[in-house]
Amino acid sequence: MSAESDMEYSDNDGDDYDYYGGQDDCDMEAVDRSKSDPEYFQYTCLRVEEVEKLLNESIELLSNSLQITPSLAKVMLHAYEWNAQEIIKKYNENPNEVLVYSCVKPRLPVVQGCTSRSICAVCATTPPINNYSALACGHFFCNECWAMHFEVQIMQGVSNTIQCMAQDCEVRVPEDFVLSHVTKPALRERYQQFMFKDHVKSHPQLRFCPGPNCQWIYRAWVREGARRVECQGCEMLTCFSCGAPHHAPTDCITIRRWLTKCADDSETANYISAHTKDCPKCQICIEKNGGCNHMQCGACRHDFCWVCLGDWGYHGSEYYECSRYKEDPNSVTDSQQAQAKEALKKYLHYYERWENHARSLKLEEQTLATLKSRINQKVMAGEGTWIDWQYLWDAARLLKRCRYTLQYTYPFAYYMDIGPRKELFEYQQAQLEAEIENLSWKIERAETTDRGDLENQMDIAEKRRTTLLKDFLEFNISIASGSKI
């Protein structure tokens, strides 16, 4: 797709104003939107039950084709990021490899009698022989100990990755085995909730809506670049790729850097940046409260180096590069201090604008609310119908959308290298800002402004916004994915 679509001129009949605050439209319009809206992204909003159904379909498919229990299918799907077809294909080639990779079977063959069934090695008591159980690895422990092990793990938030209790045994405990040992209803429920959350998190097509107490889950097929999804429940705008608030034209890595930087003022943020890092694989925030620099993420079990965040597996000999890097900040020179001062000035310039638009955006919410009641009053007083005043409502919503995009242009500009592209960007940004202020002014005086004039202004502002996004969002996405779109 390129920027030459003159098509949008004729498409622009007001319908596509709805996508920031309104209901989802039908597919026909969606097709047109993919041309006229540079932020268009195909996704669906699902309820928990629908996601459960979706996951169950994969589980059923796998358990039927491989003739295994659904619990084992879950362990395998979790390990293979829910790609059932890939598992089936690989299983047909080499079943053992798949089972070992998913930690269903131990790497080494089972040694008979490696654990006794006369004394439990964990609790050091001697329960009757029928009170022991073991997984595929053949490590027998008494049922009370298994139950206690699961309780401790579940209370620590572990679900899919609970392992066997034997030394050096990586075999993962399937759901049915856990549930056959855990009897407390509250604990069972907790476990199943964690399992579901873990499944959604490990599924590349799914993402929880980050809205507070929001139960909706997004489903989409692309996970790179700034991708706007809007929750059907809480109307929150989120980026599907990274889970942060939607941030076009800024890309995911940049917005993350920016938000961390902005939060730097508060004590919490200082603590977070000083004591925590994000897992390089699943981006969960990790606090290192002791121990060595070989970290294993508690959530995804990824091994990495705390110092450089590189993969631990490839790391061994390179460790000392990391420690050298750490020493650098000690040798601060005077000119660096001057540079820091300059950097702070630059940052404040962008931050003030970012903050200002964020505040305006909050105020737009109030504007929308008052506007709604004003229109209602007019309708009640017989001054036309809602349809007659619809354009005002549309204008206010458009204003909100434009401000949103404008706010997110600042982090983008902050991290841009100086050059003609930045000049172009800042030119377009200034244009957009000017038109937004015009629009805002006209909406405030809507009753005395000519309707045609206002609608014209709406059109100009939206054009500025889409032009900027077209030029810079698609450019970023094509860089991120390394392909032309």
Binding site: T115, A121, V122, C123, A124, T125, H139, F141, C145, M148, H149, E151, V152, Q153, Q163, C164, M165, A166, Q167, D168, C169, G290, G291, C292, N293, H294, Q296, V307, H315, G316, S317, Y319, Y320, C322, S323, K326
Partner: protein
């Protein structure tokens, strides 16, 4: 839960007491209180290592969820080792962290720690400064570790030159341990250590 923990610890305590390692003086285990929640371990520095002749005291705290969670262990005796923090005594050993298994025991843990003294894992370091020296200047590392063993763990007499350098800093009013850490960190270069201490 605490019931299992106490029962296990009691049994393990007996197991360690009867073991040949205790008889041979390689490891030792003592109770700190009556509740079986805190113990004190001791391991002898393995022969043919810079820790030979030293005795290293360990603090062992047993969590309520033991053995489903690992015991919390740190070196009380100061030690110069890539996998042990020279400041806090914290230990980097997989079985004390994510590789802990409920089937492991205090005896196996103590023996693993002793094995760690014989074979450091410089690629999985706890103390980056020590690990760097271990890798880049093994001979100096060996001498430094021996010096620490002598001073803190009762090992055989060590390098005279090191003692003299520590004394020089003591004369300047520096705390003895701080002086030793600075010198060890800066490869026993008196000038750099002094600079760091007084900066």
């Amino acid at each position: 839960m605490a019931n299992i923990a106490a029962k296990r610890i009691k049994r393990e305590f007996k197991e360690v007491m009867k073991s040949e390692e205790v008889a041979g003086g390689a490891i030792k285990l003592e109770l700190v209180n009556d509740s079986w929640t805190e113990l004190q371990g001791e391991i002898a520095g393995p022969s043919d290592t810079p820790y030979e002749g030293g005795t290293f005291v360990l603090e062992i705290k047993v969590p309520e969820t033991y053995p489903f969670n690992p015991p919390k262990i740190r070196f009380v005796t100061k030690i110069w080792h890539p996998n042990v923090s020279s400041v806090t005594g914290a230990i980097c050993l997989d079985i004390l962290k994510d590789q802990w298994a409920a089937a492991l025991t205090l005896r196996t843990v103590l023996l693993s720690l002793q094995a760690l003294l014989s074979a450091a894992e410089p690629n999985d370091p706890q103390d980056a400064v020590v690990a760097k020296q271990y890798k880049e200047n093994p001979q100096l590392f060996h001498m430094t570790a021996r010096h620490w063993t002598n001073v803190y763990a009762g090992g055989p007499a060590s390098i005279v030159e090191f003692n003299q350098k520590v004394q020089r800093l003591l004369d300047m009013g520096v705390d003895e341990h701080d002086a030793r850490v600075a010198l060890s960190t800066y490869d026993w270069e008196l000038e750099r250590a002094t600079e760091q201490l007084f900066s």
